[in-house]
Symmetry: C2
Subunit: 410 residues, 2 copies
C-alpha cells in the first residue's frame, strides 16, 4: 500500500464531466490499495473570472482581500470533487488550507509555506477516506487566508507529499511529461523518462512551463519523487527525482529557449572599482531582475558592460541607465529587444569536455551569431538574434542526439 | 458613537456597481462616528449557480461538501466589499465564519449558531476598521464549514449584534420595511413604523418574506432592535423591537396570507383515546410539518379530523393516511389543494374583545366561506377557498383600519 499525492490542474477539472473523470481515476488508484490525497486547482476560467471582478472594482485590489477572493476557486473544486467521489460510493473529505492547516508567511499573493500539519489528513486517511485538499492556499499566523501565487497548487502538492512522506507526488497536467524541448517548434522533441531536480530547475527557469519552479525546489529539498503525467491518458510520464548515476551518462537532457528578455549594453565605461555597483544599484532598486551579465576585458581603462533584463522592464531600465551613464562618464547605452536565449541543460556536462565547443560549432554551421554566453555547472546559454530561435533549438536538439529515434551525432 | 451591524442581501450586492454603492453607504455611517460591522449575502445569482453545479454532478450532493461549496458565495462578496472600502480610502477587513469564529452545531445546510466569539471583531474595530463578515456560514466543533440555511445571513447579523451588544441591527433589503400586508395584492398597504418581535414572528411564519424567522427569534431572545430598511433609499424603514405599551393600542398590525398549504380531512374516525396519535405518527415520521388541526365534536362515537400540510407534502401524506384510515376503521380521507389561509396579527387582540367576530363578519359580507379557524393570543387565521385570497386580504385590511390614510372602521 502506497501513499500517493496527486495534483490536477485547472484544465483537468475544467467542467463537471472532467471532475467526474478525475474522481474515477482517483478511485481506481484507491481501489488498488493506495491512500490518496488529491490537490486541486480552480476550475479553468474561474481564477480569471475572479480577477476580472476585482479589477472591475479597482485597479489595485487590496492584496489581503484578493487572496480571500481567489481562494474560493479551489474551494469550489474540492467540494465538487468530494461530492463526485461520494456519489460514486466511496468516502471523501475536502479540506481547505485553514483546515489542514497549511501555515504560510503573510505575503499575500505569493506566500511561502512554513509548515504543513498532517494530523487531520492522517485521521481522514485512517477512516478510509480520499482526501481532497485545496491547492494554492494557506493560513498566516494571524489566521488570515494567503495564496501561494501562480502554480501554487504544484507547491501545495509537493509540500503535502513531503510532510506526509508520500511515496510519490503525481502532477497531472495537459501534457504527458517533460520533453527534451518544446514540441511546438521541434517536431522531433522526445518525452524524457526521468530528469533530475537540478535539470528540471534549469529547464523550468529557462522557460519550460510544466512544473512551477518553487515546487521543484521544495521537492529537491525534501527528496519527493515527482511524476509529471497527463490527465487524459494512462501513459507513464516523466519522473523528476534525485540524481542517479545513470543520469550522468546523458550529456544533454534538454534544449530550452526564452524570448522574454532584452539586452542592454553600456559602452566605454571607465573601468574602476565601484563602477558596476553604481550601474546596477538603480536597476536592483527598481525591482528589475538582471539575468546574464557579461563584461569585456578592459582596454585603455575602458570596458563594455552587457546584461539582459525582462522585456517588460526594458524601457524603464534603459531610461534609468542613461542618467547613470552620464554620471559615471560612460559613452552611451544601447538596447536590443530582438534577442532570444537558447540553452542546453544536462548533468552530464560536469564530466564531459567539449560540450560548449560542440554547441558553438552547431550554431556556427547555421550562421547563427552568438551575442552573449553564460554557463553554469549543468547548463550553457547563448543569446542570439530572436529570429533564429526555432532554427537554433532544432539544430541543438539534433546536435546533442535528442531527436526521437536518433543516436547522438559526432 | 454607536456600534451598528448592517446586513445587505444578495440583490443589494448583485454587481460591482451595487457593491460600490453599499461601500459608500457604510462609509457614510462610519464617518458619522459609528463602528460598523457589515454582514453580506452572496451576490444575487451566485448561490443558484453553485447549486446548479452541484446538481449537474449528482442528484443528492453530500451535505458537508455542499456547505463547503455554498459558503464560497459570501466569501466572494465580503472580499469584494472590503476591497471597495479600501479603494475609497477607508480601512476594512473581511472575516469568514472560521475567522470570527461563529460556532454552530454540525447540521450541514441548516446549522444553528451556538456561540459567536467577538474578540477578533473587536480587535478589528479598535483598529478603526470596517469589518465585513460572511453571512450564512459557521464552523462546527470538528472545524468543518457549516451553513445556516435560507435567509441565514439575517441570522448571522442578528447573532453578531447580540454578541457585540450592538445598538441596532439594520437589515437592508429590496423593500423599504414591513407592510401591513402584501402591497402587490393590496394597493392600500401601509409601511409600519414599528412592530413587536411577536407580531413579526407571526407575520414571518404566515408568509411575509422580509425577515427570516430564526433571526427574529434570535433578536427577541437577546432583545436586539432590528431596523428593516431599503438599500436603495435613505428613508427610515420599520423597527422590530420589544413590545411597548403604545403597540397594544393598535388592535391589528397586519394581514397575511399563505397559499402554500393543502387541507386533508379524515371522515368518520372512531373517537377513542390514541386515535389522533395513530393518525399523526406516520405523518410526523415522514418529516411533514402539520399546521392547523381541527377536530369536530364527536357524534355517535365518530368524529372528523381536518388539518393542513405544506403543498409539496400533500400527495405523499394523503397516500400514507389512506392506509392508516383503513387500519383504524375511518371512513375515508379527502384532500383539497385549492385553499389559502388568511390571518390577522396584532398584540392588541389580547385586550380587545370582538376581534374574531369582526373578522368573520367582514369575510361573510363578501360571501367568503370559512373552512377552518385557528387562533393564538395575537393572531386569528381562517382557511378559505384559494380564489378568494386577494379579496379577503383587502377586505380585512380595510375592516381593521389598516388602509393608508384611513381610520379604523366601526
Amino acid at each position: 500500500m502506497a501513499l500517493i499525492v496527486q495534483k490536477y490542474g485547472g484544465t483537468s477539472v475544467g467542467d463537471i464531466e472532467k471532475i467526474r473523470t478525475v474522481a474515477r481515476r482517483v478511485i481506481n488508484s484507491f481501489k488498488q490499495g493506495n491512500q490518496m490525497v488529491v490537490v486541486l486547482s480552480a476550475m479553468a476560467g474561474q481564477t480569471d473570472r475572479l480577477i476580472r471582478l476585482a479589477h472591475e472594482l479597482c485597479d489595485q485590489p487590496d492584496p489581503r482581500e484578493l487572496d480571500v477572493l481567489m481562494s474560493t476557486g479551489e474551494q469550489v473544486s474540492i467540494a465538487l470533487f468530494a461530492m463526485a467521489v461520494k456519489s460514486m460510493g466511496y468516502d471523501a473529505s475536502s479540506l481547505l488550507g485553514f483546515q489542514v492547516p497549511i501555515h504560510t508567511d503573510g505575503l499575500y499573493g505569493k506566500a511561502r509555506i512554513h509548515e504543513v500539519n498532517t494530523n487531520r489528513i492522517k485521521r481522514e486517511l485512517e477512516k478510509g477516506r480520499i482526501v481532497a485538499v485545496a491547492g494554492f492556499q494557506g493560513l498566516d499566523e494571524n489566521g488570515d487566508i494567503t495564496t501561494l501565487g501562480r502554480g501554487g497548487s504544484d507547491t501545495t502538492a509537493v509540500a503535502l507529499a513531503a510532510a506526509l512522506n508520500a511515496d510519490v507526488c503525481e502532477i497531472f497536467t495537459d501534457v504527458d511529461g517533460v520533453y527534451t524541448t518544446d514540441p511546438n517548434i521541434c517536431p522531433k522533441a522526445r518525452k524524457l523518462d526521468t530528469i533530475s531536480y537540478e535539470e528540471m530547475l534549469e529547464m523550468a527557469s529557462l522557460g519550460a512551463k510544466v512544473l512551477e519552479i518553487r515546487s521543484v525546489e521544495f521537492a529537491s529539498k525534501f527528496q519527493v519523487p515527482i511524476h509529471v503525467r497527463s490527465t487524459f491518458s494512462e501513459e507513464k510520464g516523466t519522473m523528476v527525482t534525485a540524481e542517479t548515476r545513470d543520469m550522468e551518462k546523458v550529456v544533454v537532457s534538454g534544449v530550452t529557449y526564452n524570448k522574454n528578455e532584452a539586452r542592454i549594453t553600456m559602452k566605454h565605461v571607465p573601468d574602476k572599482p565601484g563602477t558596476a555597483s553604481k550601474i546596477f544599484k538603480p536597476v536592483f532598486e527598481a525591482g528589475v531582475i538582471v539575468d546574464m551579465i557579461v563584461q569585456n576585458p578592459s582596454e585603455d581603462g575602458y570596458t563594455d558592460l552587457t546584461f539582459t533584463v525582462p522585456k517588460p522592464d526594458f524601457h524603464r531600465t534603459l531610461k534609468r541607465l542613461r542618467d547613470v551613464a552620464h554620471d559615471i562618464g560612460a559613452e552611451r547605452v544601447m538596447g536590443d529587444e530582438d534577442i532570444a536565449k537558447v540553452s542546453i541543460v544536462g548533468l552530464g556536462m560536469r564530466s564531459h569536455a567539449g560540450v560548449a565547443q560542440k554547441m558553438f560549432n552547431a550554431l556556427a554551421k547555421e550562421n547563427i551569431n552568438i551575442m552573449m554566453i553564460s554557463t553554469s555547472e549543468i547548463k550553457i546559454s547563448c543569446v542570439i538574434e530572436e529570429k533564429y530561435t526555432e532554427l537554433a533549438v532544432r539544430t541543438l536538439h539534433t546536435a546533442f542526439g535528442l531527436d526521437s529515434d536518433a543516436q547522438e551525432a559526432d
